[in-house]
Symmetry: C2
Subunit: 239 residues, 2 copies
Amino acid sequence: MTPNPPNTSCLTCRLSDLCLPFGLQIDEVETLEIIIKNKRPLGLGESLFTKNEACISLFAVKSGSFRRFVMSADGTEQTLGFYLPGELIGLDALFDGNFTFSVDALETSSVCELPLTRLNELCAKIPNLQYQLTRILSKEITTNHEQMFLLSNNSAKIKVATFLLMLSKRYGALGYSHTHFNLSMPRQTIASFLGLSNETISRQLTALCKEDIILVNQRAIQINDLRLLQAIIEPCHNN
Amino acid sequence: MTPNPPNTSCLTCRLSDLCLPFGLQIDEVETLEIIIKNKRPLGLGESLFTKNEACISLFAVKSGSFRRFVMSADGTEQTLGFYLPGELIGLDALFDGNFTFSVDALETSSVCELPLTRLNELCAKIPNLQYQLTRILSKEITTNHEQMFLLSNNSAKIKVATFLLMLSKRYGALGYSHTHFNLSMPRQTIASFLGLSNETISRQLTALCKEDIILVNQRAIQINDLRLLQAIIEPCHNN
DNA sequence: CGTTGTTTTGACACTAGTCAATGGGTGTGG
DNA sequence: CCACACCCATTGACTAGTGTCAAAACAACG
C-alpha cells in the first residue's frame, strides 16, 4: 500500500508539497529543478556528510530515512533526530557554512542535492522560494522546541509513546499508514534519541504490548489503539 | 563594570554586531531603523506574548532577559530557553504566523519591536538583511541541537555546569564579566529548563561550591575556576 | 517585625541505568 | 540444507541518581 515513488521531477514528485517547491509557480519550480543534482542512493549506515565538513549543498530526502547524530567524547553516537522523505537536511549549516552534526542513512535511501550557491542565487530571484526556505527553517525551530519539551520533563513511557505518535503522524503525512509501519532504526538509536537506555525502550514497548495498545514484532510496529496511546501523553500536552 | 547601555539607534547600539544589523551597510541600517518601534520596558514577570497569539512583530532584546516557556497540562510552566540582549525573539512564528510558545520578562527589560510585514518588505529590498535573518534562524537551530544534546544524555552535574558555562559565554560575548554575574531567574526556572528538580539544582550548586569551583550567594554567581568547570563537561563534548 | 516567597537540607522512594545472561533472526560457509 | 557466528532484542537482578515530600533557614518586602 505504498504511494507512488517520488519522481526525479519536482513537478510530479508526490513530496513537493512538503518540500521546497511548496507555494511556487510552475515556472518557478521548473527553474528550481534545473539546479537539483541527483546523487546515487545511499546504503544502510552510509554517511551523507559529517560534522564540521563544509556545506556545499543542502539535501532533500527523496526516499528512505536518515539519522542526525554527533559523537560523544567516549565514542558513543548521540542521535539528535531523524529525517523522513520531503524533509530538508543541512539547514544548520546556513549559519557559517559548516555542518554542525553528521548524517547517515538508516536504510537504502536517496536524496536530491541542492548546491548552496545556486540555491542562494535562486532565492534572490524567486521571493516565494526564499519565503518557503524561511518557513522551513522556522518549522525546524518549532520541531526542536517540541523535542526539548519532551526530553526535559517526561517519563520513559511518555517519551516512547510520543516517539511512536510522532512517527505515526509523519508517516501518515507522507501517505503511508499511520498505524502500521516499520522502524528503520535499532532500539539503541531510539534510546539515544530519547535520552534513555535501549533496555528501557525494550521494556516500555513490551509494556505497551501487554496493554494491547500496540503490537511489536522486531522493527514492525502496529498501533492497535491510537486513542489510548494519545491518552498516555495527555499530561505532557502544553498550551 | 557594565558596558554602555544599548542605544535607541542601531548605528550606535553596542549590540548591533550580534543582532539583525550585522553585515549591513550604514545606509541599510538607517533604513532598518525606520521600521523599529520602541516599546515601553517590561517589568518582572510581564508577558511579551503568549503561545498561539498571532505574530505581528519580532522582537530584539535591548536590555534585561526573557524566558521562553509553555504551560504543561498540569499547570506547571516548562521553560525552554532564555533570551539575552542582542537576541531575536519570535523566529518560530515565521512558519505560520503564530507564536508557538510564551515569553515573559525575567527582570526589568526592554525590546526593539520589528513589525513583520515591514521587515519582510525590507528583506526583499536588502539582500544582506535577508541573509542575516537566515543566518540567525540557522544559528538558533544549532543552539537547539546543543540543548537537545545536553538534555538527552547527561547527569545533573554536567547539566548545571553546562548551564553556568553557557551563561558565562553569553555574558562574555555581551561585554560583561564571564566570571561574575547574577542569575536573573529562580532555581525553579533553571530546573525546568534543565529537566531537573529545583532541589537538585540547589544540591549541585552547593557541591560545586564545596569544591571551590564556584561561589554562590543567592542569585550571584562567581566562577573561581573556569578550567575545572570546563573539565566537568569534558565527557559531554562532541565531535 | 511579621509575612511571603525562595533556597537549602534531610529522609526516603522510585525510576531508569548498568551489568549479565538468554533468546531470536539473519547471513555465511561448509 | 544445516551449523555456526554475529547482531540485535529481551529479560532479570541489582544499583545509582533524582524526584518527592517536608521542614528549616534565609532574604525581601511591606
